[in-house]
Amino acid sequence: MSKPVIATAHFTGCFGCHMSILDIDERILDLVELVEFNKSPINDIKNFTKPVDIGIIEGGISNDENAEILMEFRKHCKILVAIGACALTGGVPSMRNLVPLKECLEEAYLNGPTVKSENTGIIPNDPDIPVLLDRVYPCHEVVKIDYFLPGCPPSADTIWNALVALLKGEPLNLDYELIKYD
């Protein structure tokens, strides 16, 4: 039987959850024996090349590119696991949801104290830059998410135990200390 295929993606966040995946220490050797990685920032594979068993996603959805890739993940992955506060709730980036987007951009690029002088700033509008959404969305508001792992980031043990349970087809019963919102 071929190895289960895993893909990972990072949206709006700090990449801390991917750091936490790597933080499984020497178990990473077991992991490469157990699974095969497809599209992921870890191996830099840019496009899906086969159907994926488990997709792991980090970060909230703050722009059109995030939303597009998330939908692509939903299409290619049998199981989609959202990990970390940003993917689950929008997290720290979603603090901007309390301020209208226009005001955020004007403060950052036109009126903020670090803008050199008045009338010199412009709001970036290059077509290559993803367009910001009106607010930062949790992943489950964009596509169906099968499993949630909270944490900022979830600890390496949380991710490892959840992954092993999913690969074995066992229920996700994580110990009390492994579930944290921060």
Binding site: M95, N97, L98, L149
Partner: protein, 238 residues
């Protein structure tokens, strides 16, 4: 047997209690944890959060206000009630602006701890992102309404323990908020950081300044043991 004792059951466990107690008091004494948010042992019960709802002879009641009685059958730790409790906690999360990763009270927050205990992995209802006011006018404390769950503990503690009446409720329903007894914010009240009202907030709404993040992650109140285990350990001892 003395008439000063009533006998009843909680989830099939026989409890003996003085007749002037509420169900939650009798349960605490017996080492049985009933989840609660606005109830605090040293304060008169508020009865507004509904997290401590139990079933008495099949009917839902507040265990913090309902008196014990001979022969009543109380149901507490059942999935039906726990799912209602989870819903209440979830609604509180999405109505407020609770950013746990950056909050100085994370790890000792009762709202968070209840979510952990009740198995809420993440709120899935849509967030409201409502505009809430922050009052940082006081030199020693601040009031961040983004994190308020309207439990009213500070209101009751200020009245009954501090004899000051610093806090109150304003407006109704979704517009309800904690108000302070002054037009110029907390700076103009007689609140002091040593007040009992300052130590009863279950979340990070009412916080003493310059004391954040003192306890390292892993050593905070609810890092290792779920909320309520301090009550349940009593049961093991007896």
């Amino acid at each position: 047997m003395s008439t000063n004792v009533v006998t009843f059951t909680i989830d099939g466990v026989e409890i003996k209690s003085a007749p002037d107690k509420t169900i939650i008091q009798a349960a605490d004494d017996a080492g049985i944890y009933i989840p609660r948010l606005c109830y605090l042992k040293d304060l008169p019960p508020g009865g507004h959060c509904r997290v401590c709802t139990v079933k008495v002879n099949g009917r839902p009641v507040n265990s913090c206000t309902y008196p014990v009685a001979e022969g009543i059958v109380v149901e507490n730790d059942i999935e039906e009630l726990n799912s209602f409790r989870r819903n209440i906690i979830e609604m509180l999360f999405v109505e407020g602006n609770h950013f746990c990763p950056s909050c100085e009270v994370a790890g000792k927050c009762e709202l968070q701890a209840l979510a952990y205990r009740l198995g809420l992995l993440t709120p899935q209802m849509p967030y409201l992102y409502a505009q809430k006011e922050l009052d940082a006018t006081h030199p020693d404390v601040y009031l961040d309404r983004n994190r308020c769950v309207l439990c009213g503990r500070c209101v009751r503690a200020s009245i009954h323990l501090d004899k000051k009446n610093v806090f109150g409720f304003e407006n109704r329903g979704i517009n309800m908020k904690i108000s302070v007894n002054s037009n110029d914010g907390l700076q103009d009240t007689n609140l002091s950081k040593e007040d009992k009202a300052m130590s009863v907030c279950p979340t990070g709404c009412l916080v003493v300044k310059r004391q954040g993040y003192l306890t390292p992650v892993g050593k905070r109140l609810y890092d290792k043991k779920p909320i309520g285990s301090e009550i349940e350990t009593k049961k093991v001892k007896s």
